[in-house]
């Protein structure tokens, strides 16, 4: 099951709505809500691994700025940025978070669903080709089969 982490600087209506939306998707996702305001000091954060999917939610420019203050902490993760509504975010500074997908809560959540669905499909395909995962390298750097 694909783990997805969800975070916002506030427990805002936008965050709650996004949480509900993700929970309602019929995808094999485990959604982990990181405590708003303290993403990495909670027990839930110990489940985070580099390259994990982290969905950041911002209601407006101010919340984008709060996220930007800690942007170095997010660099290790694949960021999906959800902005509450197009009208509330006037600056492009959110791009400094280097999100892999930017979507607006008020009108293009289906894009998020498609993106996540594609990631789940890729994960499934990888799982269906187990021999790819059972490879290793010997001391000379040659590819070898890892013992079962």
């Amino acid at each position: 099951m694909q783990k997805i982490f969800l975070y916002s600087s506030n427990y805002s209506p936008a965050l709650q709505r996004m949480h509900r939306y993700l929970s309602g998707l019929s995808l094999k996702l485990q959604i982990i809500l990181l405590p708003p305001g303290s993403p990495f000091s909670s027990p839930a954060s110990l489940e985070l691994r580099s390259n994990d999917l982290l969905i950041l939610v911002a209601e407006n420019d101010q919340e984008v700025e709060v996220l930007l203050r800690n942007r170095i902490d997010y660099e290790e993760f694949r960021i999906i940025l959800i902005l509450a509504q197009q009208a509330a975010v006037t600056s492009n500074r959110y791009m400094l978070l280097s999100p892999r997908l930017v979507a607006y809560l008020d009108h293009d959540l289906p894009r998020v669903a498609e993106y996540l669905s594609n990631i789940c499909r890729i994960q499934t395909v990888t799982r269906q080709v187990p021999h790819l995962l059972r490879t290793s390298f010997n001391s000379k750097g040659n590819l070898t089969k890892r013992p079962h």
Binding site: Q86, M95, S98, R100
Partner: protein, 471 residues
Amino acid sequence: MAHILIVDDNTMLCELLSSQLRSADHTVLSALTLQEALQLAQQESFDLILLDVQLPDGNGLDAFQQFAQTSSRPEIIIMTGSGDAEGAKKAIQSGAWSYLEKPNILQNLVSPLTRALEYREEKKRIEQAPVALKREGIIGSSPVINSSLDQVACAAAGGANVLITGETGTGKEVFARAIHENSHRGTKAFVVVDCASLPENLIESTLFGHVKGAFTGADRSATGLIKLADGGTLFLDEVGELPERIQKTFLRVLQERSFRPLGSTREEQSNFRLLAATNRDLSQKVKDGSFRPDLLYRLRSLSLHLPPLRERKEDIRPLCRHFLVRLCERTQVSSKEISDEFFETLMDYEWPGNVRELQQTLEQVFANAIHHPTLFAYHLPAHIRVCTAMQGLTHEEPPPPATAPVSSLHQGRPTDWKSFKAEQERQYLQQVFTYTRGNIKESCRISGLSRARIYQLINLHNLSTQQKVAF
């Protein structure tokens, strides 16, 4: 255009030189005494000083360093009425650009003046260039990583497209960020396009954007990533997965730096720098027909191939420390110690998933040992520890039989028990070290002795360093 100071007590020469230099668009001030000149040099920011030697209040050469050390660090050309070899030598040794005789100064000045000003321009450019490469996230000092960093510096200084290749987890995105951050676009956006994860039907609108009504569901217009990368860097991650249809469109964007949002009739411009990464062999994909050769040529104006972690194992230790410090800071947990055997176990593993696998392993270990002040090999996942255990079994040939300690048993008077036992111990250790080539860990495993006991015996029997090489 340069700001020049002439220091000479000859008013006519000052006027003559000033007039000539002004006609070449330079701004010029002159001083008739050393004191006046030094005052001006401290107040103004001169690029060049023409300095006479014999002045009413002193020798120009003696005051050379005072001029040279003013805040603008000007270039200095010495002028003299009566040239002498010693004076010329002193001037050049002090750092003067040239030593010119006044009678021919108007004819001879042009060339050294031009060179001195060109040198100064170049010096300014070098000073503006970053003195140290920003390399956050790129940890290690192995020769292969240093070579990659040199390439990062070259790539950052220029504006060419860069194709970064390497196995999965080698840090392609980290290096791409380093190129971006060290370039003049560093303060602008670093826009990532996830070519592998974006579904094909989303790639086009995500890259190029769309206008309202461009397709079903497009009830508002949206800016694409190419436009958002204007002034910054566009990073195509896993570019090998870019669908063939998009490859063709994107090639045109690369050629013209312009694009058309979906549903729009208007071309838009974007000034972005392109970086791309892949773990695929794109040349092979070109042969297979699944990747456009013209796009590949465009992408790899510069190439950077990242080494796998197994080729830079000396970086494992600093990488671990870096990740651990970051984890402790991030989770606000006090710092942890790492045992030597933890590192030794990491070194035995081949890391097929490279730096990312190492990082994820440490994250897992950290989570499991959150309350432990020291990380031991025992905290590592079983598959990594198994690797170490398996490596210990690779010596299939049995150890050579121990040399029978016959000499003291059969020849002459036997020694006392204590000396005999010590001699056997010493011989045994020599044999073990020869077999393991001085590897202490392996010696512990074979002998069943603890590391501490082995070291105790080495000291006790005064074994030479040659016998305990490669710890």
